[in-house]
Symmetry: C2
């Protein structure tokens, strides 16, 4: 097997190793070489662990195990603790910190045979301050955030799978901007211990990959959630279309692409309404609630950093936290209860099999110097704790990618991925 | 002020400092001396940070700040990260680990002026393997677990306030055994980042103290949940009586004490039913669900330890994790959904002001060599994520303490503490 025929995906990599066509060491060396070539312009990694990855690969080649991710190279967003590697969370406060353990999500990936290639760039504490990472589809554009490095590394073909996390739109938005698949699980499906917190009621672990079955494989390894995907010719279920309360924030580049997609979907699938009108009306309150939860939960989550190094925070983040400190105790209590009531309504009022589509972002990726983009289309689903998957189906007028976001009822991760996979095949550009 | 008149409680300590009757340094030195005297037999601390506490106290005396916990000595269960101190989580795997940051709960306490005196003993990973800590009310008895050291340190008068966490009954049970107040908040009221996880859907942070207003003060500092307590002569609300599905596990020592308490409560308060019959029927499923969540969530939470040092786990914990690894993906998915549905039912079917009482433990503390006791009366409320408070009101035939557990609807932490405070005054032994 030559380098040019090196498999790109996670399943393909694993299968090639299982069939004896490749070794884990060969895969690792190839990926390390690709990273070395791309990093000068892409800047997706905080740290590449070449020695550690080689040692892991050698152990896999020598061992008898055949985990779900045997030999699959993995990028890990730098808010996850990885034993012996940098754990900066994108902040100068932690520039010299080395983690002393693996976060459970990382440990579970490793147990399944994944080879950790390194830590990928995150925005400051997974918040809004843009990082140095470039968008591999157009280096003058932002890769989005906060999982900037994981999104860019997968889109550039440097790793077939990468860990991310989402509080507002930190997985779905960068996946949309970079033209790949990004999946945020139902809230708390994957253990988030050892993942630097921003807002604990919202932070959710997920994955980036270049196809949907690879996402399913990774989620199964990390959560024990079996997501058997059998690609079907017909849509696997009715698919709602929901422009959401964020629609007024759609950019001009999105409008024609989305309207064409809606028409194409309506002719290919049963597009009945997925969301009951009463629940839709309740969603009007979500943007303000999400914004308040973000500011006061981040003031708690980053209490140590605020105590010890407030001047090492960016002005934007510091301002957000200062705003959080002014939210009154009674308002915080009301926010907690409102969040629970909304999640309870999603659980009881949605058909458990419901799946719908909505844009993954307001448009294509912004210019690099204009920040990480607007998560308006993502906040609602992050707050409700619903599974959502960005699927690279649309484009703006200069062919920059825009994602379709597939969302489902609480716990319907399997339904979301089934629809995402069907769409990848049916609408592939 | 002489040592004998040193205030015992958190509010009293803070008020004495505010009034200029004491300095934070004097309080700290007194507590450190008490700890040095008690530790040889009590063994409540993993590490006492005398130098760090003195430095904190000097800074408080020199500064202008007057936080809610200004000068209040704090014990911290050794599953919480405290910057520069041991972070063993009760396991030999982490015997040499030093935390490099404060968990948010610790950072928030520090910001409010609390003085961290040291790390208190936990059972292994907050699970069942008994620790070396003794029960201060009777040294031949267990203090309960898993927050053994925090419970013992408060009951022995070494600290007025201590942090704990509960997955099954790790706050309410030891508080019951040691004769003090122990409060588990509504699920996720206090940030649990940096707190070693055992089962993330259940783990909840809480506090130990010798009176209810001190608990309220601490919770306000840690969560921004204002819990103004005005002690009332009359019961502040109707109080349900609910023996729960655990009643068959009540020990002979509990029965007469509980029956007398029920009668006394009925003559002092409106004891109408608090739980709708439909919800009560659904609770039958809780013990099995809780047990399954514990085993498979701990297998995820401790994935790194299982990967790297399985032989350094106790046989009991290792067995639990091995059992967790056998739970099928479909069963895990069903468990996740059942948990969400039960919490959603508690939110929608309970009166938001509902409060009821149930035993805090199956009986008084077991003998030291017989383990940390049975959390049968605690599991249901931990699983539902409800606020619960142990109140030291009952005793067995040799006067060993047994707690009354006050439980409330989701988010009704204030109602639970109001009833607990009223009961402390009305029924004080």
């Amino acid at each position: 097997m030559t380098l040019n025929s090196m498999p790109l995906g996670a399943r393909d990599t694993r299968d090639a190793i299982a069939a004896g066509r490749l070794t884990a060491v060969q895969v690792t060396e190839h990926r390390l070489a690709q990273i070395a070539e791309a990093e000068p312009w892409l800047r997706a990694f905080v740290q590449v662990d070449a020695d550690g990855a080689r040692a892991q690969a050698r152990a896999l080649d020598a061992g008898a195990g055949r985990g779900l991710l045997h030999g699959v190279p993995l990028g890990v967003k730098d808010i996850f603790a990885v034993d012996g590697l940098a754990w900066t969370a994108g902040s100068p406060i932690w520039k010299d910190r080395i983690a002393g353990f693996d976060a459970p999500a990382v440990a579970l990936a490793r147990r399944a045979g994944a080879v950790v290639l390194g830590k990928t760039v995150t925005t400051e504490f997974a918040s809004y301050k843009a990082s140095r990472t470039r968008n591999p589809t157009a280096t003058d554009r932002s890769p989005g955030g906060s999982s900037s490095g994981s999104a860019a590394a997968v889109a550039a073909g440097l790793v077939p799978l990468a860990l991310g996390a989402q509080t507002s739109g930190s997985i779905v938005r960068p996946a949309s901007f970079c033209g790949e698949v990004g999946f945020k699980t139902s809230f708390d499906t994957i253990d988030s211990f050892g993942v630097t917190a921003l807002a604990r009621r919202l932070d959710t672990v997920g994955l980036f990959a270049c196809n949907v079955p690879d996402i399913g494989l990774g989620i199964e390894a990390l959560s024990g959630l079996a997501l058997p995907l059998a690609t079907t010719a017909q849509a696997p279920c009715p698919i709602g279309i929901f422009r959401s309360v964020a629609w007024p924030e759609a950019e001009p580049t999105l409008l024609p692409a989305w309207e064409s997609f809606e028409a194409a979907l309506a002719s290919a699938a049963d597009t009945r309404d997925a969301l009951p009108p009463g629940l839709v009306a309740a969603l009007d309150a979500v943007p303000a609630l999400h914004a308040r939860l973000m500011v006061w939960e981040s003031a708690e989550a980053l209490a140590h950093e605020l105590n010890t190094a407030p001047d090492a925070m960016s002005p934007g983040l510091h301002g957000q936290i200062e705003e959080g400190l002014t939210v009154t105790p009674s308002q915080r209590h009301a926010d907690r209860m409102d969040l629970q009531r909304l999640r309870s309504r999603a659980l009881t009022e949605l058909d458990p099999a419901a799946v719908w589509v909505t844009p993954a972002a307001c448009g294509s990726a912004p210019r690099f110097e204009d920040g990480t983009g607007n998560p308006a289309f993502n906040r609602t689903w992050s707050l409700l704790g619903l599974p959502c998957c960005a699927v690279p189906l649309l484009a703006d007028e200069v062919s920059a990618p825009i994602g379709v976001q597939v969302v489902g009822a609480p716990g319907n991760d399997a339904g979301v991925l089934a629809v995402a996979d069907w769409q990848m095949h049916h609408f592939a550009r």
